[in-house]
């Protein structure tokens, strides 16, 4: 079932948590709500589930306004961050709960529970209690329970947040496969970029109660719509630039003028130039459009190597990421002078009132 969200706003005790959120989730997609903690993503999910009511705006399921329907009547599957399994019920009783409160015949409940436990590969654990299960098993019980009534929308709140790294990896892939089998419209909340990119069809980036960008993982990474998205999705070098006509200058390096996305088309004097560490080229000798930097430290990262440099021309630190073979070929040593040229840069107008205090090179 598709979901349309229009003009959604919500405040808690006069603190705005969601500000005019508009979003369209097509039928059958797996969408990640991605953002830092406090950005409103969990509140948005709870509004979709009917556990919170918005101050303004509308939620439609397949075109039908569900604002008047309580959580009980929405028939939405919800998986809580800490699973919220009924602690005094067995696995089978947990999974069958939604059917039992609907007074379905016992045989039907048993058959459906069997089917769901097979789906989440927990057939052997019917009679266990939640406290006898591992985190990953609890997670799958919670999912089976949420799917019991075959909801047309599945919501997941930080579904892998409470698990250790290895189990998380497995469950991510498993959830993706499950979604490909069931094709139920799914929305999950996460603050982990890697998780969002690995599991979802589309990513909704949220910040301070607003939707910053919606797109496929490749889109939001390659074409970030705002400085926030640029900074949130991985490390980035930020340079202070001067705008002159339709060019932006950082010392004597030339870049395009900022797009209108940073500010409403107004002519601005300063801009920020963002360059990702893997988009900086390292040269032994000066080339056109390069600047000088000194190697400070080399950090091996497995398949890549991170080079930390200082760029005296900009009075700041710069980060470069090279793949290991390239790094070996260059044979860099701390203290050496090299030349860097950006292969690709994104330019955003500097926010109002921002001085040159912005020196952090990476987030």
């Amino acid at each position: 079932m598709s979901i349309q969200i229009t003009g959604l706003s919500k405040s808690f005790d006069a603190n705005p948590v969601l500000r005019d959120v508009n979003l369209e989730i097509p039928e059958g997609e797996l969408v990640a709500l991605l953002g830092p903690s406090g950005c409103g993503k969990t509140t948005l999910l709870r509004i979709l589930a009917g556990l919170e009511s918005p101050d303004a705006g509308e939620v439609r399921h397949a075109g039908e306004d569900v604002g008047a329907r309580s959580a009980r009547e929405r028939n939405v599957g919800l998986v809580f961050q800490h699973y919220a399994l009924f602690r005094h019920m067995t696995v089978a009783e947990n999974v069958g709960f939604a059917l039992r409160v609907r007074k379905r015949p016992r045989a039907e409940v048993t058959a459906r529970v069997d089917e769901l436990l097979a789906l989440v590969q927990l057939d052997g654990l019917r009679e266990r209690y939640p406290h006898q299960l591992s985190g990953g098993q609890r997670q799958r019980v919670a999912l089976a329970r949420a799917l019991a009534t075959a909801p047309r929308i599945l919501l997941l709140d930080e579904p892998f947040g409470a698990l250790d790294a290895r189990v998380r990896q497995e469950l991510r892939r498993w959830l993706r496969r499950l979604h490909d089998e069931l094709h139920v419209t799914s929305v999950f909340v996460t603050h982990d970029q890697e998780e969002a990119f690995e599991v979802s069809d589309r990513v909704v980036l949220m910040n301070a109660g607003r939707v910053e960008q919606v797109g496929t993982p490749a889109q939001v990474f390659e074409e970030p719509a705002s400085p926030f998205v640029m900074r949130f999705l991985g490390a980035v070098n930020v340079f202070q630039g001067r705008v002159d006509g339709n060019r932006t200058w950082v010392n004597d390096l030339e870049f395009a003028a900022p797009g209108t996305s940073g500010g409403a088309g107004a002519v601005r004097k300063s801009a920020h130039v963002y360059v990702r560490p893997h988009e900086l080229e390292v040269h032994r000798a000066a080339v056109p459009g390069s600047f000088e930097a000194r190697v400070v430290r080399l950090v091996p990262l497995g398949a890549a190597v991170r080079v930390e440099l200082s760029a005296p021309g900009f009075g700041k630190a710069v980060e470069v990421e090279l793949d290991v073979r390239k790094g070996e070929a260059l044979g860099l040593q701390p203290g050496e002078a090299v030349h860097l040229s950006p292969r690709r840069a994104r330019v955003f107008a500097a926010p109002d009132g921002e001085a040159d205090s912005l020196t952090a090179s990476a987030l």
């Binding site: 959580a71 009980r72 929405r74 800490h82 919220a84 009924f86 602690r87 005094h88 709960f97 409160v101």
Partner: protein, 283 residues
């Protein structure tokens, strides 16, 4: 024993403190309790039985059971409702309400009894109205029940509030999203989760309802065989120098205390394991 650690006091300090505590308990609890029992049975089983089976004593026992039978279920329902609203909703004046729940613990039971008289007595605010409708509250069973309900109100709520707070609302929210009605959530999720705490509160509430003296004494009027509960009957017998009979009836209350103590211990143990389970399932 292992070697002494930094946080451990020397043996003589430990033994002195333990000994002091034991001596205190012995002087204040064990000796008086033994004295009550000894006095109760000293005259032999027949005397004991005669005192307990006396018509006035039997009336007092019946009244005490009646009062408990009304006050305990009422306060169980109040307690669950209060704990539910205080832990599940956000509203203005919540902390004030939490303090008000504790009020009966804070005031002397005598005052609770006086308030009942003030409200429902012949000279009280509601007195004339009650009189006009032929209802008698003070110096009658309804007054005793009311005073007892007031005094024992906090027990169940006090027991449930911290426990329900620690459990959070997620399971109830999950039940709601899964399509359960309010009643289904209460009976299938909330109550099963708090059952040991609830039972613990009920047992304490019951012990107090049966043993309450001060508030009941003010409103009862001490009519023998009519408005005397067990504690009041014990006092009446004592004041009439019927020591043996007084102790015999008192031993009944002592039995209630014993049963309460054992049940309380058993439930504490149950609760601890339930809490440990809850912790493990949230780890």
């Amino acid at each position: 024993m292992s070697a002494r650690t930094a946080t451990e006091d020397p043996a003589w300090v430990r033994w002195a403190l333990v000994g002091l505590a034991l001596a205190f308990v012995a002087a204040l609890v064990l000796v008086p309790a033994a004295a009550v029992l000894w006095e109760a049975v000293r005259g032999g089983a027949e005397l004991w039985w005669r005192a307990v089976a006396d018509p006035d004593a039997r009336a007092a026992i019946r009244l005490t059971l009646l009062v408990a039978a009304v006050a305990v279920p009422l306060n169980t329902a109040f307690g669950v409702a209060a704990a539910w609203s205080l832990t599940r909703f956000r509203f203005r004046g919540k902390s004030l309400l939490v303090s008000l729940v504790d009020l009966p613990f804070g005031v002397s039971p005598v005052i609770s009894g006086m308030v009942t008289v003030l409200l429902f007595g012949a000279q009280g605010w509601l007195g004339p109205w009650l009189d006009a409708h032929g209802l008698k509250v003070v110096f009658a069973v309804p007054g005793i029940v009311l005073a007892t309900v007031f005094v024992t109100f906090p027990f169940v709520a006090r027991e449930l509030i911290p426990f329900m707070e620690s459990q959070g609302v997620e399971e109830e929210e999950a039940a709601l999203v899964l399509g359960a009605s309010g009643w289904q959530i209460l009976t299938r999720v909330t109550l099963p989760n708090v059952k040991w705490s609830l039972l613990y509160g009920v047992i304490l509430c019951n012990a107090r309802a049966m043993g309450e003296f001060g508030a009941v004494s003010v409103v009862s009027g001490h009519v023998r065989g009519v408005t005397n509960t067990i504690p009041l009957h014990v006092e009446v017998l004592y004041n009439e120098y019927a020591f043996r009979a007084s102790f015999a009836v008192a031993s009944l209350l002592f039995l209630v205390a014993l049963v309460t103590l054992v049940a309380k211990k058993a439930l504490e143990w149950k609760q601890r394991s339930a809490r440990a389970t809850a912790r493990r399932s949230h780890a």
